[in-house]
């Protein structure tokens, strides 16, 4: 920019007209992760187990019905065998999956709301409120989760220990870590000029948070939500396994609890404890796979890494094929020489 004279002033508009036929993509579209085999596996696992939890109880019988055929292995009538008291394991699994999913969803939503409020609102307002919220979050962060859950669950009488109580207890002990993550992300987003620009143009604070900041945090929130669901299902299973779970609902944890009480392991009744354990493991695995794909949306570097690997593999394959073709050609040439 040296000594620009008005005489040389020619509009440089022509130099910066982009392509007219650019594809129009909405903001939401860019938030969706790219479909990869891993994501597909994750979605199939999560979707399958969710469907099983939703529809399974409609087709199986009463899980509590007691029969006189205790501890039989899988058969045509009872696909996953029966428990010590002759209850249908498949029916129990379906109901337990539904119970666990309920808890997971409930805790996921509650923990996400809590962490979004304390993380995002605190970071946006800054100053004293931020310090107070951060302190609060840090206190909850260092509280050892499971022991506190055990104490609270033990303190609440068994009759009133319903699904909601357990969900609230798990949510209250589990939101702090994601609040820290959201807090850090919000601090970075609120420094951006577009937030300042919307403030200058007179947007109200809640609109700045919800419309300008929140969409840019959605991938992070989604990943934290998925993480909270996994943690909740595992936490609830742990609680139920030691007999402190919700009294009025059957979950995968209570199934494991009864299996352990019924000496399923020592009696070799694998059909009793393997299905619930496997369901928890597969569901957790599915959600983790989904989460990795969301991570790619948050951090595009991961995506580049994957694409680089794929390109490298393709190049290596091409090279091998070329080498093979070349060697074949040379042998063919030798044959013809002879």
């Amino acid at each position: 920019m040296t000594n620009i004279e008005p005489a040389t002033a020619t509009p440089a508009d022509a130099a910066e007209t982009g392509p007219d036929a650019a594809p129009v993509r909405s903001g939401w579209r860019s938030l969706l992760p790219t479909m990869t085999p891993w994501l597909a596996v994750g979605l199939v696992l999560v979707g399958g187990i969710t469907l099983f939890g939703l529809l399974g109880p409609l087709f199986t019988g009463d899980p509590r019905q007691i029969r006189d055929i205790g501890l039989t292995g899988p058969s045509a009538e009872f696909w996953l065998g029966t428990t010590q008291t002759g209850q249908d394991v498949l029916a129990q699994l379906a109901h337990a999956t539904r119970g666990s999913l309920q808890i997971g969803l409930l805790v996921g939503v509650l923990a996400t709301i809590l962490s979004a409020f304390f993380g995002i609102y605190g970071a946006y307002r800054g100053r004293f409120l931020d310090d107070a919220f951060s302190l609060f979050t840090n206190v909850f962060l260092v509280i050892p989760g499971l022991p506190l859950v055990i104490v609270i669950s033990g303190f609440v009488p068994r009759e009133s220990r319903g699904l909601w109580t357990i969900a609230v207890v798990l949510a209250v002990t589990g939101w702090a870590a994601s609040a820290r993550v959201l807090h850090a992300q919000t601090l970075s987003v609120r420094q951006r000029d577009y937030v300042a620009a919307s403030q200058v143009s007179g947007e109200r604070p809640w609109r700045v948070i919800v419309v300008e900041i929140l969409p840019n945090l959605l991938p992070v929130i989604a990943s934290q939500f998925v993480f909270a669901v996994i943690a909740a299902i595992l936490g609830e299973a742990g609680l139920s396994y030691i007999g402190l779970g919700a009294s009025n609902s059957a979950t995968l944890g209570t199934m494991l609890f009864y299996a352990q009480n019924g000496f399923a392991l020592s009696l070799g009744a694998w059909w009793w404890f393997v299905p619930p354990g496997l369901t928890i493991a597969l569901f957790g695995m599915g959600l983790s796979l989904v989460n990795f794909s969301i991570d790619e949306v948050i951090n595009p570097k991961l995506k580049n890494l994957r694409q680089h690997r794929r390109r490298a593999r393709r190049a290596a394959r091409l090279e091998r094929e070329l080498a093979r073709g070349a060697s074949r050609r040379t042998t063919a040439a030798k044959e013809s020489d002879r």
Binding site: M1, T2, N3, E16, A22, V24, S30, A196
Partner: protein, 296 residues
């Protein structure tokens, strides 16, 4: 038409270093007049307080002392929500000042809706397209639904200008609006700003560290050094006949194609040797004390 009067603006920042607290005076008794149709350039290096003044003018920061008065032609003061309508800002970095999540239309429609310039959806949409055409973004209908990452830096900055003007701004603060753009399109954006200024009779504060564009684009130049005004006057007078050591340094630092060979900026001055206690006022033609309340 609306004018802005900045009087004796002071902004102190408290720097906490462990238990010690020190005070940093970012802006020290700065006075400015922004009048309709005229451009005042605020020139200075990084950390000289330019952006702080912009933040105070747009009410993102409160001044420690001093006043910012925005008055309409009839003398009534602009305050409250109307202030946000009359005083708008174009940010430095067009890659950061548009929300990557929202469409171009959203960015221009929001100020229109907030300040009730339009009432129906169709009216808003029509006005958005109108605004896009005003900043030479055509075809507007194909630009509006796009998202910022699909536009070039110059196009984004045009969107940012349209957004600033959408509520009907009369005082425009342009915080280094072209410093992040390619050299080849800077002039286009500056000429656009000039045209809009003539059309709307805008009062513009052009913040920059580049004397060349300051001379090209502005009527009046105010040089800021370490929070104080050290020189002010008509653009040509300040740039061609600098009096203050710092302005001389700035003027010498701009490469001059007339002089062949290396830039012969006089030996790098000791920065701490430059004092900012005096200000040369080209209008009055005399030296004044800087960093003191203006004699009113």
């Amino acid at each position: 038409m609306t004018s802005a009067h900045v009087t004796d603006l002071v902004k102190d920042y408290t720097i906490r270093n462990g238990l010690k607290r020190t005070r940093l005076r970012a802006v020290d008794h700065v006075s400015l007049e922004l009048t309709p149709g005229r451009t005042v350039a605020l020139v200075g290096e990084s950390g000289s307080g330019k952006s702080t003044i912009a933040k105070i003018l747009t009410r993102m920061e409160r001044p420690t002392s001093g006043t910012v008065e925005v008055r309409r032609e009839d003398g009534t003061a602009v305050g409250g929500p109307a202030y946000r309508r009359e005083v708008q800002m174009v940010f430095q970095d067009p890659f950061a000042s548009l929300n990557p999540f929202h469409s171009i239309e959203h960015h221009i429609a929001r100020p229109l809706r907030i300040h009730r310039r339009t009432s129906t959806k169709d009216e808003t949409r029509g006005r958005v397209l109108e605004m896009l055409e005003r900043v030479n973004l055509t075809p507007a209908a194909s630009i509006a639904p796009r998202r910022p990452h699909e536009l070039s830096g110059g196009q984004r900055q045009r969107v940012a200008i349209a957004r600033a003007l959408a509520p009907g701004a009369k005082v425009l603060i342009a915080d280094e609006p072209v410093s992040m753009l390619d050299v080849s399109i800077r002039l286009g954006v500056l000429n656009l700003l000039g045209r809009l200024q003539r059309e709307d009779d805008l009062a513009v504060l052009y913040i920059t560290h580049d004397l060349a564009t300051a001379r090209h684009f502005s009527d009046e130049v105010t040089v800021l050094y370490r929070g104080r005004v050290v020189e002010r006057g008509p653009a040509d007078a300040v740039i061609l006949d600098p009096h203050h050591d710092y302005t001389k340094l700035l003027a010498a630092a701009a490469p001059d194609p007339e002089r062949l060979g290396r830039v012969t900026a006089s030996e790098p001055l000791d920065r701490d040797a430059i004092d900012n206690s005096a200000c040369y006022d080209h209008f009055a033609g005399e030296w004044r004390e800087a960093g003191v309340p203006a004699a009113a």
